[in-house]
Amino acid sequence: MTTLRQVAGKLGGLLLTLFLASLLVFFSRFLVPGDPVSFLLRGRKPSPEAIAQVAAQYGLGLPPWQQYLDWVGGILQGDFGRSLQFRQDVSVVIGERLPVTLGLVVMAGTMIAVVGLIAGAVAALNRGRVLDRAVLVGLTVLGAIPSFVGSIVLIAVFAVQLGWFPSFGSGEGFLDTVYHLVLPSIALAVVFVVLIAKVTRSSMIDQLGREHVEVATSRGLTRGTVIRRHVFRNAIGPILTVSGLLVAGLLVASSIVEAAFGLSGIGSLLVQSVDRLDFPVVQAIVLLIVTAFVVVNAIIDILEPWVDPRSAAGAGAR
């Protein structure tokens, strides 16, 4: 179905996007007028040694493209530079915090998938009925609750008042970690659940109105079979596309949730690094999130022909 050529083409697109994104991340620093050293050392005592160290780390004497190549070259070898606030390699700082964020994102992702798909499907299958309305209203309101508000409420109710869940920390071992991450994942998932549910709903409603669904029904397939094999199966495309777009949002939104729940992941690290003017860390995290986004979407892109055989033939549109 998918030819090797197409996959190669998509990988090429991925690399191009990554390249452009890395340019953006790297050269964004050049948007700031003035001396790069004083930018990087804002708020710190600019001892000559510190200046020399930062200048050396960034190769500030070199022409910009050379700086860029060095930077990219370092990253390809896992060297993201050194954190100014932690006096430590950025890769170490991030590496220590990544598991928490990944755990959070995976758990939230699972909730988003399960709850979002179910809610969307239920609404779609009851289109125009009370249940649909209820789900829609619920989604509209839930979707309007920013994750930081959600976090505060969840902590106040379930951690403090009821004491069912811990209000901080990420726990030890698998089960404990899951237990610790329940509330943060919910806070993170809510807004995205709403998006997925809405896409699922409209995508399924779209399919429900298709003639092929009616054909399948007319041939005596049970409603369950029709919905599973024809409605839901065909509705996956847009859901998957939107899911891909959500990945980066999930990673960024985790900064809010992590901050609220006192979790130490790369999200809270990002905020802290912005606060502490630790630009090397900011740069690295931004690049990481962008890369995750691009890679996930490339994977979805490559899966596309499996989801929709027409796309392999270039027939495209649904």
């Binding site: 708020g43 932690f86 403090v160 130490s264 992941g265």
Partner: protein
């Protein structure tokens, strides 16, 4: 909730001897240390952990007295030299013995510009640090300095294994490199962003401070609510510096107790521009009188504090004579809240309608209170006030960079002293001193302080210092606002800590055991 009722609180020095050892307990900190490198340990978060792992030449006790630490004794043979005799039988956590070479290596780092030590100011007078005997280290200074030795109870006097310093290099003190010191606890694990675990060091030299807990776990929670909740629910056993909003809750929660202990910090407004209207002493006095300092204490620290007219707390007057202490605190100018009188002063000074700029930053709620209250006070006496909100980092720069203070008339600080001597405060206000932010200059004051610094006898010194305090109280180079006690929460499982700001340097965690 009735906001008018001021809370009851009193100072405590002890929290009851522990019943025995405990396997482990947890402690909450509002932030993660950036580094456990003593050269950079300059903040509550760093020091409260470091104090239990790394020891200094001298030991700063909870009552702010100094006693021998890794130096079993010190001498002051000439006004310019300090000679330390290094204690025998002390080992680092890796088992290697403490030597004079380690001391020299550790202390010399403060002088190394490549390190950029935060404690350089302590060493600014130092000419050399040398091993002058098997167990002897001599520090030579350019001029007489009574203060250097006092600082050896703090981070400036921390001793680390020289071999470790060399080995770890740039990674020394961070979560990968770690530290290798002599304290009652060793650094067991540093899980970035989450917690630091300390383990009892069994070969610790000082039996009296042998750790009662096999393990202490520090968890970091930036969020005040999370901190209070964790303490209240018993998820965490204790913590320093409780959020004021939560103290009432913690007191009534029944899962532990809140204690208030010695503090050296004074909240004050630094007058950073004497060229402007505040250059006139009458305007400074008027400003202080226009401030409802009782109200500020109520709003900023929810009543856990007292208005003060001095820039030091009595707690740092450790070696003071009775006379000295009386001179220092009795009969100080009171500056009561009196807008009318203040207005009159402004009129006299002809400053009505002049403008002042106060800088603030969103660091904690007291910053907002002070900024708003100060602006309101200035307006109430006919001055124009502008609040300039800057980032916390830019705010930090106010303390280090004269350019950052350009155009700023007033800013707020909570200034704490790291050594048991009020001179630490007043030496800062001498003409030309780095931290004399407004460039205030008073010849009499300078002379008194310089004399005090050259005086070795604490009692005699205190009397000189008291003179300095009186001058500052009259002239108001900084406007003193209030003091607040150091708060600590102990859950029902633990006991034994002495509530005091000395937790920044004293191995307080070792004293905590099962209740």
């Amino acid at each position: 909730p009735d906001s008018a009722a001021a809370p009851d609180w009193e100072y405590t020095t002890e929290t009851g001897a522990p019943a025995g050892d405990i396997d482990s307990y947890s402690w909450v900190s509002y932030a993660e240390p950036y580094s456990l490198d003593y050269a950079y340990a300059f903040d509550y978060a760093d020091n409260q952990v470091l104090a239990n792992v790394c020891e200094s030449l001298l030991r700063l006790n909870p009552d702010y007295t100094l006693s021998p630490g890794l130096a079993e004794s010190f001498d002051h043979p000439t006004p310019e030299t300090w000679v330390y005799t290094i204690r025998d039988g002390v080992t680092f956590h890796d088992g290697t013995p403490l030597t004079a070479a380690d001391v020299v290596a550790s202390m010399n780092r403060h002088l190394d510009p490549a390190v950029g030590s935060s404690w350089y100011s302590v060493y600014q007078n130092v000419v050399s640090i040398e091993q002058t005997g098997d167990r002897q280290v001599t520090v030579t200074e350019a001029s007489a300095d009574s203060q250097f030795n006092l600082a050896m109870g703090g981070s400036a006097g921390v001793i680390e294994s020289g071999a470790t310093l060399t080995e770890k290099g740039a990674d020394y003190g961070n979560s990968t490199g770690g530290v290798n010191c002599t304290g009652p606890f060793s650094l067991e694990e540093w899980k970035s962003g989450e917690r630091i675990t300390l383990a009892r060091y069994d070969d610790y030299w000082d039996e009296t401070l042998r750790a009662k807990a096999a393990e202490v776990e520090f968890v970091f929670m930036n969020d005040a609510n999370a901190r209070v909740n964790a303490l209240k629910s018993g998820d965490v056993d204790g913590g320093w510096m409780l959020p004021y909003e939560g103290i009432a809750q913690l007191t009534s929660a029944g899962t532990g107790e809140v204690y208030f202990g010695l503090n050296t910090a004074v909240s004050s407004l630094i007058v950073s521009n004497l060229e402007g209207p505040l250059g006139d002493e009458r305007v400074r006095r008027a400003m202080l009188m226009a401030l409802d300092r009782e109200g500020i204490v109520e709003a900023a620290s929810k009543g856990y504090g007292e208005v003060t007219n001095a820039l030091t707390t009595e707690s740092v007057w450790v070696g003071a004579s009775e006379q000295g202490l009386a001179d220092a605190f009795e009969g100080l100018e009171e500056y009561p809240y009196d807008v009318e009188a203040a207005k009159q002063l402004i009129d006299e000074a002809g400053a009505t309608g002049e403008e002042i700029v106060l800088a603030t930053a969103p660091i904690s709620s007291d910053f907002a209170v002070i900024a708003q209250a100060t602006a309101a006070a200035a307006e109430s006496i006919g001055l124009k006030a502008t609040i300039e909100t800057v980032t916390p980092n830019a705010y930090t720069a106010l303390f280090s960079d004269p350019a950052a203070r350009e155009g700023v008339d007033l800013f707020y600080t909570v200034w704490y002293l790291s050594s048991p001597d009020p001179l630490e405060m007043y030496s800062v206000l001498r003409t030309g001193e780095f931290s004399n932010y407004g460039g205030w200059s008073n010849a009499e004051f300078d002379q008194v302080v310089n004399e005090a610094i050259a005086t070795d006898d604490p009692a005699a010194r205190s009397e000189k210092t008291a003179e300095a305090q009186r001058i500052a109280n009259e002239q108001l180079p900084w406007l003193p606002l209030s003091t607040a006690p150091m708060s600590v929460f102990l859950g029902e499982r633990i006991s034994g800590v002495a509530p005091s700001i000395a937790f920044l340097y004293y191995p307080w965690a070792a004293a905590i055991g099962a209740r």
